[in-house]
């Protein structure tokens, strides 16, 4: 079972956190910090498996991570998962993100955190691997996004209102009223 999935950048800022086991909020943040601490110390040419991190509980778990450019993808798993298989899974997940976002980069993850969660939901459910076929995943995510868009989406106001305003026919209004320079001449007052 996958106990948690963490994505954070080279400075430890979390980009996505998903726990499949209950932890209190402050515990979650502590786990993120500890994981970052452990993973960032690793050289690039050592193996991708780490033991340690007592916070996440139990001695049965390992951290399997991959470092892509500025991001660390860390999966914390227990002994029922194959280590090499999880490495492949991380690869599949990242490639799926790439397909959904068109050359994904960190900014995409930052600004579309909810979408990343939805994609992840199609890959891993309840700590277990759900689907590994990239095309299937992408197709399903696409369909759901379309459903959302037809309802107006997350950030938009009701779609009809927006489109209504767009379609309003307003007469051309002079936008720029060019007053020009006004020279105010002060008339000379005749001295009395």
């Amino acid at each position: 079972m996958i106990k948690s999935i963490l994505i954070f950048n080279n400075h430890g800022k979390p980009r996505l956190i998903r726990f499949y086991q209950y932890f209190a909020e402050d515990m979650q943040q502590q786990i993120i910090r500890e994981t970052f601490h452990l993973v960032s110390k690793r050289d690039d040419n050592v193996c991708n498996f780490l033991e340690g991190g007592s916070l996440i509980g139990g001695s049965d778990h390992k951290l399997i991570y991959r470092h892509y450019a500025t991001l660390y993808f860390v999966f914390c798993v227990d002994s029922s998962e194959s280590e090499l298989g999880i490495l492949d899974l991380i690869q599949v997940f990242v490639e799926t993100l790439d397909k959904c976002f068109e050359n994904v980069c960190e900014l995409d993850l930052i600004f579309h955190m909810d979408k990343v969660h939805y994609i992840l939901q199609e890959v891993v459910m309840g700590g277990m691997v759900l689907e590994t076929n990239m095309n299937d995943i992408v197709a399903q995510v696409e369909l759901q996004t379309r459903m959302e868009k037809s309802e107006g989406g997350l950030s938009a106001a009701p779609a009809r209102a927006v489109s209504a305003v767009k379609n309003m026919n307003l007469p051309e209004m002079p936008r720029n009223i060019n007053i020009g320079d006004i020279n105010i001449k002060v008339p000379s007052l005749s001295p009395f």
């Binding site: 050289d43 194959s82 909810d114 309840g126 691997v129 759900l130 399903q140």
Partner: protein, 819 residues
């Protein structure tokens, strides 16, 4: 009220914050805005607000006030709302909040929704955080969805079922009918999750396991298709067809085949095929091979297959990719118990891995190396391991040191080598050695009698170099206290003896007492060592001075010791030699695992075990009770020895003295009750007079036949019990030359009053006919007065249905058995 800002805006704003305080301020402002928006029950923007809340939650800020809002979103009709609502529920809610139960109804409705994505969302949420009540309520719906033809829903339902089973194991049977045709699916997603479901069910219940064994042929077929099907672009990952599914199926096969011959038989072919055909150039292929190897090792595979598996692991070990090597070391560790010899072949590669830079690999290699140590390779392996100990990180040192001690104890080729190894560990990793190793080491040193001089010399030299490592210092000071005379007399045969004067030795020990590096325990050791030297050295005055100084030490433990030693100098000087003589060899009660060292009278080991030996000793006229400890049993009765009273009372005082010294390196009272009036000079002679060396005397006593009648023959063989020569260990061998078995065979013995007898349990109570086997039983006889051994024996047995009883006297004991 203006529309709340979009998620994107919020994120952008937060990113402009330059300090943590600024960020916190922005977030607090936004939280306030969100809270008021929630209060206004604004339906339009609720989804936006919750999305922002989730973002802030990820950064670590409290978001609990959004929990109820998530529920409202879930209840909404819009897909967008539901989506973000369910996400919020999964991130913010869990069983511990009561709010989550309110979701149950919504989830139930959504499970029956017309849109498959809504159903999917509901399944996902239930599968992530459903509590047992929710699972119980909704299991029926999940089961229904498990049978649907929509593959999208089916795979989600399968994983949801796994979660339900984990939460409420009793519901497992409910899902059984639905699993019937799960494996005939074409869709790989459904196949994958079904295999997960089956795996979970098999792991939880042995009944399910036997039920699903009949699926093995089907699984083998699916696996075969995957391998042979050639290129299929859909499921391809680096040229291999759906490796995830292959791995899962292999895992399920492992569980099904474990311990079952038929299933293992059915799997042999496919496993061999996978093992040979899979490409190993990419990680994917290696993942499959790894899983295959694990499966082969776990099921009852034929030996050819096992050899293939270990060879694959050996190849992994040589791979450049660190991950592969790590994985190989892990699996070798699992298999080393069962296929020890095969793994031995790769020993040199494993030992090389000790030098790897990667911490994870080093740790694995260390564990594996310890598992591979045996009598043949001990010298070579130990060299490597000691080198590793020198250069490894501190986090490994403690484990490595303990491992080295254990291995050395089990396989040491010679005593000298053993002591050298220990010395090496103490000097290099001394401060990381575990606390309980000190008593073990001392016991080991005491037992290797011929090495005393060599040991003490080496320890002394080590002490001159470095006094910061406490375990080393403790062992060294104990040894110097015990064998200081050997040190000064320069008797060492093994090595060039060094010239040390008594003053130099005392300097070193006193140095320990005053040094800042010494812990209180170490100081205790050194004070006792100094005291012991008072009987071994001639310069007693100096020692007296030291001891009296510490009579006013601030440390209570030191003070107590010093005061008592002082008393020893003043009032009990006549007892001093007896008290401070050499320690006899200590016997271990168990040979494996944690040992309780059965100590003789008076302790030097500061371990708690000893205190419980002291109370039985504080009885008058009971020096003989010390022997009880030697006999090793708690159930041996008190020996009534005819002891002259004077030593008895002296013994009593001694023992009272002992009673106060709980954890000290206490002096030893005389362990020679049979010659109580015998002189201090006898006791002071040190090694030679001590009856400690009879452990070698097992030869010499010939066996004898004690009884031979009616076909039953009983032979006695003798051994000396170590360390006490007064205990004879007799092993009886009963053999039956009649043509029928003797059943219910009971052997009883009685000895005259001056002896004590202990009968251990027999090997069996049936003596097979026609000398086909023997029954053995061990008798221990304590003979403190060295009188001639006589025994009356009574035999009862049943032969051919009729009971037989016989009495006999045994008088023909060889003289060596009781002298």
């Amino acid at each position: 009220m203006p529309a709340p800002i979009r998620l994107r805006e919020l994120i952008r704003t937060i990113r402009t914050a330059r300090t943590q305080a600024e960020e916190r301020e922005m977030i607090q402002k936004e939280c306030a805005a969100i809270r008021s928006s929630f209060r206004e029950e604004d339906n339009t923007y609720r989804c936006r607000n919750v999305a922002k809340l989730l973002y802030m939650h990820m950064l670590g800020y409290p978001a609990h006030f959004g929990q109820l809002e998530c529920l409202k979103l879930i209840a909404s009709q819009k897909f967008t709302d539901k989506r973000i609502g369910y996400l919020g529920a999964m991130l913010l809610l869990d069983e511990r909040q009561d709010v989550h139960l309110l979701m149950t109804n919504c989830i139930k409705n959504d499970l029956n929704h017309s849109t498959q994505y809504v159903q999917g969302l509901a399944l996902c949420t239930l599968g992530c955080m459903g509590s047992s009540e929710m699972c119980r309520d909704l299991a029926g719906e999940v089961e229904k969805l498990l049978k649907t033809s929509n593959s999208y829903l089916r795979k989600k339902a399968a994983l949801c079922a796994v979660h339900v089973i984990r939460k409420v194991p009793e519901l497992m049977e409910m899902f059984l009918p639905a699993t019937k045709n799960l494996l005939s699916e074409k869709n790989h997603g459904v196949l994958h999750t079904s295999v997960v479901l089956l795996t979970e069910m098999c792991e939880r219940s042995p009944d399910m396991l036997s039920h699903f064994r009949k699926l093995v042929p089907q699984l083998v077929r699916i696996l075969k298709n995957l391998i042979m099907s050639g290129y299929s672009p859909e499921h391809d990952v680096s040229g291999i067809s759906d490796p995830f599914l292959q791995v899962r199926i292999l895992r399920l096969l492992r569980i099904l085949g474990k311990g079952d011959d038929d299933s293992s038989e059915a799997m042999n072919d496919i496993l061999a095929q996978v093992a040979t055909n899979t490409e190993t150039s990419k990680n994917v292929g290696n993942a499959i091979l790894y899983e295959t190897v694990l499966t082969i090792m776990d099921i009852k595979s034929e030996s050819g297959l096992r050899v293939l598996a270990i060879n694959i692991l050996g190849r992994f070990l040589l791979n450049n990719d660190k991950n592969i090597r790590y994985v190989a070391l892990t699996s070798l560790l699992k298999t080393v118990q069962t296929d020890h010899n095969a793994v031995q072949r790769h020993r040199s590669t494993i030992v090389d891995c000790l030098k790897d830079l990667d911490v994870s690999i080093k740790r694995r290699a260390m564990e594996l190396s310890f598992a591979l140590v045996n009598g043949n390779n001990i010298r070579g392996m130990m060299k490597e391991l000691l080198y590793f100990l020198d250069s490894c990180d501190p986090e490994f040192k403690a484990d490595c040191a303990s491992g080295v001690f254990l291995a050395a104890e089990k396989y040491a080729p010679s005593k000298r080598w053993h002591i050298d190894t220990i010395m090496r560990v103490l000097t290099t990793a001394g401060s990381y050695v575990r606390d309980d190793s000190v008593p073990n080491l001392i016991q080991l040193i005491t037992n290797s009698v011929e090495m005393h001089a060599y040991t003490v010399q080496r320890l002394y030299k080590a002490l001159l170099d470095d006094i910061s490592q406490q375990p080393l210092v403790q062992v060294a000071s104990w040894c110097i206290g015990e064998y200081g005379d050997l040190l000064v007399s320069g008797q060492c045969e093994e090595e060039e003896p060094i010239q040390v004067t008594e003053d130099e030795v005392l300097d070193v020990l006193e140095g320990l007492l005053v040094s800042n590096l010494s812990t209180p325990v170490t100081r205790g050791y050194s004070l006792t060592a100094i005291m012991k030297l008072s009987t071994r050295f001639s310069s007693v005055n100096r020692i007296k001075k030291v001891v009296s100084i510490y009579g006013s030490s601030i440390d209570v433990e030191l003070q107590q010791r010093a005061v008592e030693y002082n008393a020893l100098f003043k009032k009990y000087d006549h007892m001093r030699p007896a008290l401070l003589e050499r320690m006899p060899i200590m016997e271990k009660t168990a040979t494996n695992g944690p040992t309780e060292i059965v100590q003789t009278n008076g302790e030097t080991e500061p371990s708690v075990v000893e205190t419980k030996h002291l109370p039985p000793v504080t009885q008058p006229a009971n020096q003989a009770n010390d022997l009880l400890d030697l006999l090793g049993g708690n159930d041996v009765p008190v020996i009534q020895t005819t002891m002259p009273t004077k030593p008895a009372s002296a013994g009593g005082e001694l023992l009272d003295l002992l009673g106060d010294l709980s954890l000290s390196g206490g002096p030893t009272p005389a362990p020679a009750p049979s010659v109580p009036s015998s002189q201090p000079s006898f006791l002071l002679d040190g090694l030679s007079s001590q009856p400690l060396f009879n452990d070698i005397a097992t030869a010499a006593i010939p066996p004898m036949t004690a009884y031979n009648k009616n076909g039953l023959k009983i032979d006695f063989t003798f051994e000396r019990a170590n360390p006490n020569p007064n205990v004879a260990v007799i092993t009886i061998h009963a053999s039956n030359s009649a043509d029928a078995d003797m059943t219910e065979f009971v052997f009883q013995a009685a000895v005259p009053k001056t002896f004590q007898l202990q009968l251990l349990s027999p090997s069996s109570n049936v003596v097979p006919a026609l000398n086909q086997g023997t029954v053995t039983q061990v008798i221990r006889v304590l003979n403190p007065q060295k009188q001639q051994l006589r025994m009356r024996i009574k035999l009862t047995y049943t032969l051919k249905g009729s009971p037989v009883q016989d009495l006999a006297e045994v008088n023909n004991f060889p003289p060596q058995s009781w002298q």
